[in-house]
């Protein structure tokens, strides 16, 4: 698989929006168990606004596509998900710069920058039962694929698999951040909604939902 161009990234974002829409009720169900039950609705509202912004602004570079997504999510989602997912995409955009093509190495570096942005914003650590627990393994999978010159398509698949495994690993964790943290041990046994959405994002990169 060759480097990614703007059209590939736009399709990735559009597949993610579709996937959030398809899984809206599931995300809300997960959030009802340990949060306040609005994650699906809030992310869906945000991604629908993203689709409208992409149609209206027609961003042309990989970076401007991601920054459009980030700014739109920050402005429309609210709660903790708006700043966190918004920061992820804003950092992806600023890390990619003006380049027209994105290599595996570029994507790994940009996603690492996104992860760092999320940590700066949300102060999450591994094992806190947050979206960080799905995103970190995905970043590490991309980085090791880039170091071993793996094909881009295979690397995206590995990142998606790593995110899904990270999502599943949140189930036995006790939440230490966000609204779920007030439940403490009572949050054990529930899959984290934010980590679930990150797994959807990485799955959308390989064209799955």
């Amino acid at each position: 698989m060759t480097d990614l161009v703007a059209a590939d990234l736009e399709q990735w974002v559009r597949r993610f929006a579709q996937s959030v829409s398809d899984h809206k009720d599931h995300l809300t169900e997960l959030d009802s168990a340990i949060g306040d039950g609005d994650h699906g609705a809030n992310m869906h509202r945000g991604m629908q606004a993203v689709l409208a912004a992409l149609d209206a602004k027609r961003p042309e570079t990989p970076a401007t596509i991601f920054s459009t997504v980030g700014m739109t999510l920050v402005s429309t989602v609210g709660g903790a998900s708006g700043p966190l997912f918004g920061t992820l995409f804003l950092r992806l955009g600023s890390a990619l710069g003006p380049a027209a093509e994105v290599s595996l190495g570029d994507l790994a570096r940009a996603l690492r920058a996104g992860l760092d942005g999320i940590v700066a914003r949300g102060k999450a650590e591994a094992g806190d039962k947050t979206l960080y627990d799905a995103l970190l393994p995905a970043v590490e999978a991309l980085e090791s694929a880039a170091a071993s010159d793996t094909d881009l398509g295979a690397a995206l698949q590995q990142a998606a698999d790593a995110a899904a495994a990270g999502r599943d690993a949140t189930t036995p964790m006790s939440a230490r951040k966000g609204r779920a943290s007030y439940l403490g041990e009572r949050s054990v046994g529930h899959q984290d909604p934010g980590a679930t959405t990150v797994a959807l994002l990485l799955a959308a990169a390989v064209g799955r939902s």
């Binding site: 700043p83 609204r179 007030y182 403490g184």
Partner: protein, 333 residues
């Protein structure tokens, strides 16, 4: 679900139209869902804004007016406002002396206000200081959680800091007063029933007819424990004792005592509660300098109450007594 609404999706928008129509001294930026003083901005004075998810009325929009808030941002139901709203409010009220953001300690609120402060600083060079309230003693393990939640102290803080700003104090001084209020106030709440979020259409949590949730949060977050129904006297004991021992309050301390309703409890029951609270405080030698009784920080239609105590001093009391003219609090005029 039985509610006085037209469509669950329109509740916040239509309530803002109602607030604007009922209170000509307030204006509403409907695009950004910001309620602000129609006679502002006030040159040379520190402005104070707050905001949060809707569903806690009169907090925060009902506290906009002379001597309290300059603006309030209304988020979606129980969802913090987005940075654009907070930036819009900050610009609307800035009078050149800086803007204080009053933020309740919830993950989403803190992040959105943080981003707004960064954007406001980058765009317009408006000086912003944020003060976060975290007075809920129900959250015991604050190291391994998002920390204590901001509840009743927010009401007292907005009144007192608002008076300090009205006097012409500097941004640093107003922020100091605000931090002092949060540091010296503690709260604890209790739910008899769940709230029902209009879009959800069903109660947020299940609770039996003979049960109460001790330490509940204002979005229906779980508290310390689920316990059997008890008398007002016993409930007052369960709320006041953890509050007193946490600060701790000592014999002889003057306090502002605030008995709050969570939205679905009638005022007459809040006065029954207040009577029990004042008896307990008197037994401990605590001197009630001022009181506030009523539903001021609510959780939609949740039945229940919370008790907030603020250890006061002469400065805080004179700021408390200063004139205020808002939809929900007005005196001294």
């Amino acid at each position: 679900m039985k509610k006085l609404i037209n469509n669950p999706a329109d509740v916040v928008t239509e309530a803002l139209l109602g607030i604007e129509a009922a209170h000509p001294e307030l204006a509403v930026d409907h695009e950004n869902k910001v309620i602000y003083r129609a006679d502002g901005p006030h040159r040379g004075k520190v402005a104070i804004i707050s905001g949060g998810g809707s569903g806690h009325e009169p907090l925060h929009g009902g506290f906009v007016g002379l001597g309290m808030l300059n603006a309030a941002c209304a988020g979606e139901m129980f969802t913090s406002p987005v940075p654009d709203q907070v930036v819009a409010a900050t610009k609307l009220v800035d009078g050149g002396a800086g803007v204080l953001h009053v933020v309740k300690n919830y993950t989403g609120d803190v992040m959105n206000f943080d981003m707004a402060a960064e954007i406001a600083a980058a765009e317009g060079g408006i000086e912003v200081v944020a003060v976060v309230t975290d007075d809920d003693v129900a959250v015991q393990d604050s190291t391994w959680t998002a920390g204590r939640r901001g509840v009743g102290a927010t009401v007292l803080l907005e009144k007192i800091a608002g008076a300090a700003a009205e006097q012409g104090r500097s941004l640093a001084e107003v922020a100091d007063v605000a931090r002092k209020v949060n540091a010296q106030a503690r709260s604890m709440g209790l739910a008899l029933t769940s709230c029902t979020v209009p879009a959800a259409g069903k109660p947020t949590f299940e609770i039996g007819d003979d049960e109460m949730e001790l330490g509940v949060g204002i979005h229906g977050e779980p508290g310390r424990k689920r316990i059997p129904m008890a008398s007002a006297r016993e409930i007052a004991e369960m709320l006041v004792e953890p509050v007193l021992s946490d600060l701790p309050f000592a014999s002889g301390d003057p306090v502002i005592a605030f008995v709050n309703g969570l939205g679905g409890t009638p005022l007459i029951e809040l006065y029954v509660m207040y009577n029990e609270v004042q008896k307990i405080l008197t037994q401990h030698g605590i001197q009630i300098a001022r009181s506030l009784v009523g539903p001021f920080i609510t959780s939609l239609d949740m039945a229940g109450t919370s008790v907030t105590l603020l250890k006061a001093d002469d400065d805080l009391l004179s700021l408390w007594d200063a004139p205020v003219r808002t939809p929900a609090l007005r005196w001294g005029l």
